[in-house]
Subunit: 139 residues, 2 copies
Amino acid sequence: MTLQAQPELTKNQSLVFSALNRADGPLTAYAILDELRAEGFRAPLQVYRALERLQAYGLVHRLESLNAFVACSHPQCAHQESAAFAICEKCGQVAEFSPGRATDALKAWATQTGFALTNTTIELRGMCRLCSGAPAPCA
Amino acid sequence: MTLQAQPELTKNQSLVFSALNRADGPLTAYAILDELRAEGFRAPLQVYRALERLQAYGLVHRLESLNAFVACSHPQCAHQESAAFAICEKCGQVAEFSPGRATDALKAWATQTGFALTNTTIELRGMCRLCSGAPAPCA
DNA sequence: CCGCCAGACGTTATCTTATTACGTTATAGG
DNA sequence: CCTATAACGTAATAAGATAACGTCTGGCGG
Ligand SMILES: [Zn+2]
Ligand SMILES: [Zn+2]
Ligand SMILES: [Zn+2]
Ligand SMILES: [Zn+2]
């Protein structure tokens, strides 16, 4: 994770960050690009460059299993602890949580094995409470 | 995961599976394709179709953070338990292990939250024992 | 003030990864 | 034999990510 200090965001970084915050779920880089064409974005690299910084600042997470990005749910805590995500396959909602005990278990494995752990990806797939409780898509 | 019963493999499935077993690390779909051009493979879809089945049979895993695939390290056990992977960023080796306690913790979170969990992705990044112990790349 | 550097930016082209669409072949059941 | 199903072959295209280049800015030493 190795979080970087966070200077003030540049214009492009702010635009990308606010696009992610407006969205009610994860966005792909190209979806962000389309969101921001009105603001003058023209090329994927503008999005990827901003995302790279935002991730380094801990404001944005990448969902590996979706090739998509979400704004951090609790940026204030800068959650040094690795984050985990529960992705609803019905409605697309993503819940971010802190997998304290799971991370501890993985760290223990790493220590035992001699693996120098720098980063952990945890992504859960399934259905959120609302979607699994009712047949209709959740609000 | 929902593992499927495993009938005998088709020719293409066998070829893809053996390519993954020959490799000493994960392969991308296109790397597999190149491996198998000599055997008559011509198009990505031949690889993706075989991978799809092999994953369903539990013989192959996809590494989400690499967009790559590995043969299962212990296919005999059909590890209903979700697998976890430790990826060395120096030498590229991948170690598969059973994250029992971590999975338990994630299941507990899901139960508490009302999330109907079907699948868990756990991928660790860092350096393997050999690479972090010695400056030279590990054997 | 001037020259220089580093960081952000813009643009194009290209590369990698994955899927859609459609037609063919092999095979098992009735 | 007829037909349904699964696997296969091929071409085209979509989706995701990066390389390579040049420009523009603001800060700083001289
Ligand atoms: Zn977060
Ligand atoms: Zn849902
Ligand atoms: Zn396995
Ligand atoms: Zn290594």
